[in-house]
């Protein structure tokens, strides 16, 4: 990336929009989380009683 105003503009443009895409991807992964509940269920009371 050239150490000039052009480089700063390019870096900003690429970084901002790429991070929007990446974090949207994390959002998509989180949207799938409810499917985990079909695989298993955790007994929270039992976990709390067995704490260290």
């Amino acid at each position: 990336m050239p150490d000039a105003l052009y480089g700063a503009l390019m870096l900003s443009f690429i970084d901002f929009f790429t991070s929007m895409v990446m974090i949207s991807g994390i959002g998509v992964v989180l949207a799938l989380f409810p499917l985990l509940n079909r695989l298993a269920k955790i007994d929270e009371e039992a976990l709390r009683k067995s704490h260290h």
Binding site: M1, P2, D3, A4, L5, G7, A8, L9, L11, S12, F13, I14, D15, F16, T18, S19, M20, M22, I23, S24, I26, G27, V28, V29, L30, A31, F33, P34, L36, N37, L39, A40, K41, I42, E44, L47, R48, S50, H51, H52
Partner: protein, 376 residues
């Protein structure tokens, strides 16, 4: 004989710090005192300002060995420079954070990136002022409002600017309740501020345990430059959520966090020597930091309004400014501004979603920046 005595006294005086004191030291000592005053009398971030203020005072007393190699403050700074301290801060933060608001509202996660336009406005501004691209990147990351990430990026990109950037980052985080509301009100209508959010779904224990594991894998796969920070955040969070290692989670969230805060604050303050701090660069960095926060707040709110164009069920645009990563300050600001217009509109839980996403947004922006600048 009198000449000999005077010569001896002169030599003795030269060995004291007093002989090397200059007006810059006096100014910085006054700044350190002001920080301690703000912490005690006004209650502004006392956990940070007391330590930073005191070590700022000591580092500007010439002759102090604490800031020299061999001194305790020097080794505290080594812990920051070697990137041992920032990941441990995130470890403690993870152990005290409930990510359920973020898991329950995945559509708000994008606000954690939308609110980071301020990083790039400050970066471009810094480049226009003559900083190098790496220095501009380090300055820009102040706009992410994430102290450990700002320190991490600055150590990688521009370690000589660490005192100014860390002080600016932590100071502006404390001032967010003053900085953000005018921008939020300028960009929203009273009707928009009164939008109520539907209650979020309940997040199960399984999801809360899966979250740190999944995110830990994603971050190490896709964003290795910032993996140390986010991995430790996730480890702390895993300790909190599994419910079987409560004593470890409590240690991480309390005692360890307290030790690390002490180390961090004396390290930051010890770098505030007058000859390095009282420069035009410092003034420019402080101004750019403010610009970053203002634009970040604005872009978050505008991002939320753009999101509303695609949603049937509108979100309150005040949530957008919470995408700045300062957890939980930015979320609290969104909640308090909403309350001013509707005393029964409690936004805090929803605002924590984009607020927590902002931590990842800053990390992702930082990782991409390091990759584009060729820094490992």
């Amino acid at each position: 004989m009198i000449e000999q005595v005077l010569s001896f006294l002169g030599a003795l005086m030269d060995q004291t710090g007093l002989a090397h004191l200059w007006w810059g030291n006096v100014v910085m000592i006054a700044i350190g005192c002001a920080m301690i005053y703000l912490a005690i009398a006004k209650g502004y971030e006392p956990l940070l300002l007391v330590g930073i203020g005191f070590s700022c005072i000591i580092s500007n007393v010439p002759g102090s060995d604490l800031t020299q190699p061999g001194g305790l403050f020097h080794y505290a700074y080594e812990g920051v420079q070697l990137l041992v301290v920032p990941p441990l801060i995130f470890f403690g933060v993870g152990a005290m954070t409930d990510f359920a608001p973020m898991i329950a509202n995945p559509r708000l996660v994008i606000l954690g990136a939308a609110a980071h336009l301020g990083i790039f406005v400050a970066l471009i501004g810094a480049k226009l002022l003559g900083f190098t691209l790496k220095e501009a990147g380090a300055i820009g990351i102040i706009g992410g409002a994430d102290g450990p990430m700002a320190i991490f990026m600055t150590v990688k990109l521009a370690p000589h600017l660490l005192p100014q950037i860390s002080v600016a980052a932590y100071s502006y985080m404390a001032l967010m309740p003053l900085i953000q509301p005018p921008v939020m009100k300028l960009l929203t209508t009273p009707a928009e501020r009164k939008i109520r959010m539907k209650q979020s779904r309940q997040v199960t224990r399984l999801e809360k345990i899966a979250f740190p594991i999944v995110i830990g894998i994603i971050v190490n796969l896709f964003f290795p430059p910032v993996a140390p920070l986010i991995t430790m955040l996730m480890l702390g969070n895993l300790f909190r959520e599994v419910l079987v290692v409560n004593r470890l989670a409590r240690t991480a969230a309390n005692d360890l966090m307290n030790v690390i805060i002490i180390v961090l604050t004396v390290a930051i303050g010890s770098t505030m020597a007058a000859d390095k701090f009282l420069t035009i660069d410092t003034i420019e960095i402080v101004v750019l930091g403010l610009v970053a926060f203002l634009f970040g707040t604005g872009s978050g709110v505008v991002g939320a309004k753009i999101l509303n164009l695609f949603l049937k069920e509108k979100i309150n645009p005040l949530l957008g400014s919470a995408g700045i990563a300062s957890v939980p300050i930015a979320a609290r600001v969104s909640h308090n501004v909403a309350l001013q217009y509707d005393k029964e509109n409690f936004l805090i839980y929803h605002a924590m979603g984009p607020n927590l996403a902002g931590v990842f947004g800053t990390a992702i922006s930082g990782a991409i920046m390091l990759a584009l600048l060729g820094v490992h």
